[in-house]
């Protein structure tokens, strides 16, 4: 069944599990880290977003096969964009 998932699906599912783990366990190695995923696997963990992204692109240049996240982020938060339109 897992083999039927696309690379993007696998990346997203792994990212979701990492974020959940990091939010539930502050001792998780991913807690508050920037995590780069490629082809369904974690390939880089860093403290800085730019550093993580640079290394992720070096490992996998095709962005469609990558996913980036800040572990521990509250994905339910709503962000205000005051009236700029």
């Amino acid at each position: 069944m897992a083999a039927a998932l696309s690379v993007q699906d696998r990346n997203r599912e792994l990212a979701r599990r990492i974020n959940e783990e990091a939010r539930n366990n502050p001792q998780s190695p991913y807690a508050n880290k920037m995590v780069g995923i490629a082809n369904g696997q974690v390939v880089v963990v860093a403290d800085d977003w730019d550093e993580m992204s640079t290394r992720l692109r070096q490992i996998e240049p095709d962005p469609r096969k990558c996913f980036a996240l800040e572990a521990s982020e509250n994905l339910d938060e709503v962000h205000e964009i005051w009236g700029s339109m």
Binding site: Q8, S53, P63, F67, H79, E80, I81
Partner: protein, 132 residues
């Protein structure tokens, strides 16, 4: 210390960034409304751009994000290389992709981005600038 200034557009503060097209590596200049009311210091995004630009510039997908106000709903987020040559600024940033940028602009430079710099008119009411 470096400073970049841009003339106001429609009386509103703007900045110019450079994206890079994935197909040929060409520079893609974009003029963004500088809006300190867009997001917060810890919003998890720094710019809002047309989603087509995010895809044309090899944006790496990230989790979508929920906005309210001028944009409302869930929007995709990407990791994109952004440059401001005059400031020797070149970093990968988290960017929200929207179906349409604000009229007259290519997107929004949010508080999280502006707050990386000193920002303001630096004594010239017809301009807006960023300073490192």
């Amino acid at each position: 210390m470096a400073r970049a200034n841009w003339a106001l557009r429609r009386g509103r503060p703007v900045i110019q960034i450079i994206l890079t097209l994935a197909t040929n590596g060409q520079a893609l200049p974009r003029t963004l409304l500088a809006d300190t009311g867009a997001g917060s210091r810890k919003s998890g995004f720094e710019l809002i751009l047309d989603e087509d630009d995010c895809l044309l510039c090899n944006g790496v997908p990230a989790f979508p994000i929920t906005l309210s106000g001028a944009y409302s709903g869930s929007f995709p987020r990407y990791d994109i290389q952004v440059q401001i040559p005059a400031l020797a600024f070149a970093r990968k940033l988290r960017v929200v992709g929207v179906p349409a940028a604000p009229a007259g602009f290519d997107g929004i430079a949010c508080f999280g981005f502006l707050n990386r710099f000193h920002y303001g008119n630096f004594g010239d009411p017809g301009q807006f600038g960023l300073e490192t």
